[in-house]
Amino acid sequence: MKKVAIPGVSGKKQGLHVCSTCGNYSEHQTHISLCPICDNQIYLRKKNSLQKTWALLITAIIFIIPANVYPITYLLKNNILYPDTIFSGIISLVDSDMIGIAIIVFVASILVPILKIFALIFILLAVQLRWRLSATKQLLIFTFVDWIGRWSILDLFVISIMVAVFDKGNLLSVYPGIAATSFTIVVITTLFAAHSFDTRLIWDAQTLTDTQNNNIQER
């Protein structure tokens, strides 16, 4: 028999779970792990969501250091190697009067990854320590971070174009450095971290504090 969902009450309270693939809801039972309609994995909340997100975030934090310290590209000009880090690349853009491009690159490759890591840490802490904050605002931050996060891949695309254009052997060539790989790992891990986070946990944390408070008041 199929339960009919009551609108306005969370699915978890009603013992219902929604399938992320087909969007149909079904009754939650502990031994069922596949959606009865489409046979894809179904869960009340993403499994180990917080742990996975933390693990990926820590990886990103580790790799963001070499990404900014080591050279991201090498320019080989007349047999001399000129290394360029993310930051020195931006400085040279400012020097050559391309402020607009410099801002785009700065936002995409320095500001966005750092902002994303901090925002995700903030939301994770808020969920875990049950801080009483507006859930809609937390989700707004998360959605913004999730949307802007994909733009940090911009620098990698630029490198790939530069490498292809400057291919003149020892006369003039561009090579990616160690930081390019580190930066790729930062981008990928933060993207996966945002995907592994279940936004419904924000509300779960809020409702839990509500019931706890009610219990205290009743006493």
Binding site: G8, S160, M162
Partner: protein, 187 residues
């Protein structure tokens, strides 16, 4: 949070009562129209990926650059970077379009294969990884950077790439996984 989906007119969307995210999109786009869009996107993607995007006149040599070549040239030095660029700019968008084309074709021709749920799942994951619009902005940035060094010409593939980007955006904004599911169940 459970929300009731009311009967909505085509082109309108239903939002979650708690977080105001779109949960149901009654898109006006029919599977047959989607199939047409996907097929044209697939045809256009061939020249967009292998025709030169930009040509550079440097040291009296004109060099063409296309999308795939750019990613493949770093495969020895930085394989991870190369793979990610290739995946986000070429593989993910193409596979996304192919998977939407397959599901649209099945719905248009009233064919109900058992592998379709897997296709829906793949589509849902790939949507996040298709980054053609980011590539477009990167191309702009690279072009501004290169203007300092040499004469720059916009290649033949550039126009195809813009067309592909527009088609891709149209497909993604009109696609709704849940709607496709309903149609699949009604077959």
């Amino acid at each position: 949070m459970t929300s009731e989906i009311p009967d909505i007119k085509t082109g309108h969307t239903a939002k979650c009562i708690r977080c105001e995210r779109v949960i149901y999109n009654n898109s006006a786009c029919h599977p047959s129209a989607m199939l047409a869009l996907c097929l044209s996107a697939l045809i256009i993607s061939v020249p967009a990926f292998n025709q030169p995007l930009i040509s550079l006149h440097l040291l009296s040599i004109t060099e063409d650059t296309n999308l795939i070549q750019g990613a493949l040239m770093m495969i020895d030095i930085a394989p991870i970077v190369s793979f990610v660029v290739l995946f986000c700019a070429v593989i993910a968008p193409t596979m996304l379009i192919i998977s939407i084309a397959i599901s649209s074709a099945c719905l248009t021709f009233q064919y109900k294969p058992s592998f379709l749920p897997k296709i829906f799942k793949i589509t849902r994951h790939l949507i996040h990884w298709s980054m053609l619009e980011v590539y477009m902005v990167s191309l702009m940035v690279a072009m501004f950077k290169l203007m300092n060094y040499a004469d720059l010409y916009i290649g033949f593939g550039f126009y195809f790439f813009i067309a592909l980007l527009l088609l891709n955006m149209m497909i993604i904004s009109n696609y709704s996984n849940h709607q496709y599911w309903e149609k699949y169940n009604n077959l």
